[in-house]
Amino acid sequence: MDGDGLTRRGFVQGSGAVAAAAFARLGAAGVLALGQAACRARDEGAAFTTLTAAEARELEAIAARILPATDTPGAREAGVAWFMDRALGSFMQSNLPFVRQGLRAFQEAIPATYPGARAFSDLDEADQDAWLAPHEGQPFFELVRLLTVAGFLGMTSYGGNRDHVGWTLLGIDPAAHTHTHPFGWYDARAARGEPDDA
C-alpha cells in the first residue's frame, strides 16, 4: 500500500459495491505467518522485532491521539504498537522506509518549537494534538491512521485489539462467531408483532 493510496479521496471514490477494498494495496503474502508471530509477541513487554523502541514509542503516541483512551481503552491499551511492529515487518514491509522517514520528518522541528522536548511523545496531549492537526491528510499521517484503525479493530492474532477492547467498544461480541435472529431493536419489535409507530 502506498501512502498516496490512503487519502480520504482514495477511500471514498469507489462509490457503490466497488469500494469494497478501496485501499487494499497492502501487498499479500505472509498473513498467516504474521498472525502466528504476533500471537507470540502479544504479551506486554515483548520485544519489538521491526521497529526500534523509540520508533514504536512515537508511533504509539500518535496512535493514542487518533484513538485516545477516554472512559474506554484507546489505541495504546489495545497494543496497536505491537500490531504496527508486526505489520511493518511483514505484509506492509514495503512501507517501512516510508514510515521511518515520515516519522523523522514529522518530529524534526519539535525540539526547536518546544524547548526541552526531543520527540512527539515528550509533548503533553494538547501540544500533541496541535502538532498532529496540520499533518492530517498527508501520507504519513494517513498511513499511521490506517495502522491505528487496523491494529485497534483487527483480529487479535495480529497483535493488536488486545483483549478485544476495540471490538467490545464497538459492540461486537468477540465470542460470537454466529448470530441468531432477531439482531437489532427494530427487527426484534417487528418479530414480536409490535406496531411500527414511528
Binding site: T70, L169, F183
Partner: protein
C-alpha cells in the same frame, strides 16, 4: 472427501477446456462433466475449501486475499479517457475487480440475486435508439431464459419471495426469504410512508438446509468474504462437488491461461497456460468454453491474436473488449436511535424496485433498484475507514465516540443502476504494463455515461428521502462521481445475431471460431440493474444445454 481428479494428458485433446471457474465456469464444469465429457477446468486462483475462509478483515479487505493480491499481481491500468496514458492506480483494488479462485466472484459476492425482467432484453425496441451508444436488444428474450433462471435457483439454492412487479416465474423460490433485519424493517417503514414497495430480497444464500448444505449462520461476513459454512450458493459450494463426483473433471487451479492457439482450420486447438510453478504448459482440447469474466475473457482473446486473427481471436467484429458496463451506483447512509446490528446476518433483506424501469419522462435513460444494507460497515475496520460522516473529525475522542456509537446503529441505502454500452468504455491490452505472470496487463478505459450518473443521482435522492422517512437521526450521501473501479464486468463480448456487431451468436458460439464458446458477464448486451450474477448463471446453464446437444450431434 474430495474425489480424486483424473489427470488428463496434455498432449491428447480433452473434450472441453473451460477457462475460468466462476459463476459460469462452475456450471459448465458440472453440466459438461455430468453429460459424460472429459473436462479440464482452468482457474488462475487457488482451490479453497469452505474451511479456508475467515472473518479476517485485514487479510480479506486490506490484503486483497481473495482478489489475488495487489497491483504487483494484477498490474491493471486505468484511464477515464482514451486520449490518456493509463496508469496503475496508486491505491485500492484493481479497476476491474473480481475474486480469484474456484468459485470466482460467487465466493465473495453478497448473494443479491435478481432476475432480469422482460424489458431488460428489449429496451432498445421499447425506448428507441440512444445516440452515441451501442444500446441494443438482446438476441434472446426473458421467456427463453426463464426456465434457466428457475434451474439456477433450484440447482444452487436461492431464498426469496415474489414481489409485485417481478417477471413471471415457472416455479417458486426453493427456499423462503431470510428473516428481515432492522435495516429491512426501516426500509419497509420508509417505503410505506412514501408510497413505495419494499419486498424481500432474493439471495443466493440458504435460509434453510438445502441439498446437504447447511443454512446461513448469520455471521455477517458476506460482502467480500467467503462463506465458511458453504451457505452462500457459490459455484464452489453448490456445483463443484457434484462436478468432481463425476470423475470426469480435472480442476487445474493456480493455472493462468495466457493464449489460445488455433489450428490450420481456424479452430481452437491448444490452451497455453502457466502452471502453479509458472512453467509454460499446453493442453489440447476439442472445444473451449471461455468464461473468465468480462475483463479476463477479452484480454485472453486479444492476447491470442495471430496471422489469421490479427485483431484478436473471435474479433472480426471489433467488439471484443468494447461496451464495458459496470453498473452505476449511488449511496446514502443514516444512523438511528436504537441498535440495528447490521453486522449480523446477510447484507440485505429488503429491496425497492419501484424505479426499475426506465422512464423517458425523467429526461435520461436508466433505472435501478434500492436496497438497505450495512455495506462495508459490516466490518469494524472498514466502518472506521469508510463509514464515517464527511464532517466528522477523523481522529481524536469525537471520532472514537462516534465510531463506537454508530457501528451498531448505521445502515446504507444503496442504489444499483444501469450503464450504457459505449465504444469508449472497454478492455484492451496495456502496451507497457504486465501482470505477475508476464501477461499484458488489463487496461480499463471507463467513464460513466451522463445518463448513468443522472440515474444514480436520481436514486440517491430517493435513498436520502427514504432515510428521512425511516426516522434517521442523521443521514448523509457521498456525491455520485464517475467510477474508477468496477466489480460488475459486463458487455465486453456481447452476444447477438449480427456477426458485425457481436462476438458470439445467441448460443454463445463465436461467430468466427466454431469450437469456441464465450459465456460470462461479457456476453451481456445491456447491463440490467446492478445484480448480474443470476443472469450470468442462467445464460451458462442454457449455453451448457446447447453445447451438450451440439457435441453429441457432432456439430462442434
Amino acid at each position: 472427501m474430495t474425489p480424486e481428479q483424473p489427470p488428463f494428458p496434455a498432449r491428447e485433446p480433452v473434450d472441453f477446456a473451460i477457462i475460468g471457474a466462476g459463476a459460469a465456469g462452475g456450471i459448465f464444469a458440472r453440466e459438461l462433466a455430468a453429460a459424460g465429457f472429459d473436462v479440464v477446468l482452468f482457474e488462475q486462483g487457488p482451490f479453497r475449501r469452505a474451511s479456508d475462509f475467515t472473518h479476517d478483515e485485514i487479510a480479506v479487505m486490506l490484503n486483497s486475499e481473495l482478489l489475488g493480491g495487489g497491483a504487483a499481481v494484477h498490474g491493471q491500468t486505468f484511464r477515464d479517457d482514451p486520449g490518456k496514458t493509463a496508469q496503475v492506480p496508486a491505491g485500492g483494488p484493481p479497476p476491474a475487480m473480481y475474486a480469484q479462485g474456484v468459485g470466482g466472484s460467487t465466493v465473495h459476492f453478497s448473494g443479491n440475486f435478481w432476475r432480469f425482467r422482460e424489458s431488460d432484453f428489449r429496451e432498445r425496441s421499447l425506448l428507441g435508439p440512444i445516440a452515441g451508444t451501442n444500446f441494443a436488444d438482446w438476441p434472446i428474450t426473458y421467456e427463453e431464459l426463464e426456465p434457466w433462471y428457475t434451474k439456477v435457483e433450484w440447482e444452487i439454492g436461492v431464498s426469496g419471495a415474489p414481489g409485485p412487479s417481478d417477471p413471471p416465474r415457472s416455479k417458486p423460490y426453493p427456499l423462503p426469504p431470510m428473516p428481515v433485519k432492522s435495516a429491512g424493517v426501516l426500509l419497509e417503514r420508509a417505503a410505506r410512508k412514501l408510497g413505495l414497495t419494499a419486498q424481500a430480497a432474493p439471495l443466493a444464500i440458504l435460509s434453510q438446509p438445502y441439498r446437504g448444505r447447511a443454512a446461513c449462520v448469520n455471521c455477517g461476513w458476506c460482502l467480500g468474504f467467503g462463506c465458511e459454512v458453504g451457505a452462500k450458493s457459490s459455484t464452489l459450494a453448490a456445483l463443484i462437488p457434484d462436478a468432481l463426483a463425476t470423475g470426469r473433471l480435472e480442476i487445474r487451479s493456480e493455472c493462468a491461461v495466457y493464449r489460445l492457439e488455433t489450428d490450420a482450420h481456424g479452430r481452437v486447438s491448444d490452451v497455453l497456460y502457466y502452471d502453479a510453478e509458472r512453467r509454460e504448459q499446453g493442453q489440447k482440447a476439442r472445444a473451449v468454453v471461455l468464461c473468465a469474466n468480462g475483463a479476463e475473457t477479452p484480454r485472453l482473446l486479444l492476447a491470442s491474436a495471430s496471422g489469421r486473427f490479427p485483431d484478436g481471436l473471435a474479433n472480426s467484429s471489433g467488439y471484443v473488449g468494447r461496451n464495458l458496463m459496470w453498473n452505476c451506483h449511488g449511496e446514502a447512509r443514516g444512523v438511528f436511535e436504537h441498535p440495528l446490528n447490521e453486522h449480523k446476518g446477510v447484507q440485505t433483506t429488503r429491496i425497492i424496485l419501484d424505479f426499475y424501469e426506465a422512464d423517458p419522462a425523467r429526461g435520461f435513460y436508466g433505472g435501478g433498484g434500492l436496497d438497505a444494507r450495512p455495506f462495508l460497515s459490516a466490518g469494524p475496520i472498514m466502518h472506521a475507514l469508510l463509514g464515517m460522516p464527511p464532517d466528522l473529525p477523523r481522529w481524536g475522542a469525537e471520532f472514537k465516540e462516534w465510531l463506537a456509537w454508530s457501528f451498531t446503529r448505521q445502515m446504507m441505502i444503496l442504489a444499483s443502476t444501469t450503464s450504457l454500452p459505449l465504444d469508449r468504455n472497454n478492455i484492451t491490452l496495456d502496451p507497457t504494463h504486465q501482470d505477475a505472470w508476464g501477461r499484458p496487463a488489463i487496461r480499463v478505459t471507463y467513464r460513466d455515461h451522463d445518463d448513468d450518473l443522472a440515474t444514480a443521482r436520481f436514486l440517491q435522492e430517493h435513498a436520502m428521502a427514504l432515510l428521512d422517512a425511516a426516522g434517521a437521526k442523521r443521514a448523509w450521501a457521498t456525491p455520485v462521481a464517475p467510477q474508477t473501479i468496477g466489480a460488475h464486468l459486463l458487455g465486453t463480448c456481447r452476444m447477438g445475431d449480427d456477426p458485425e456487431t457481436s462476438v458470439t451468436d445467441r448460443w454463445h458460439r463465436s461467430h468466427d471460431v466454431p469450437n469456441l464458446f464465450v459465456c460470462d458477464g461479457s456476453s451481456f448486451v445491456t447491463s440490467g440493474r446492478g445484480q448480474p450474477t443470476e443472469t450470468i448463471m442462467a445464460l451458462a446453464f442454457r449455453a451448457a444445454d446447447y453445447i451438450v446437444r451440439a457435441a453429441r450431434a457432432n456439430e462442434i
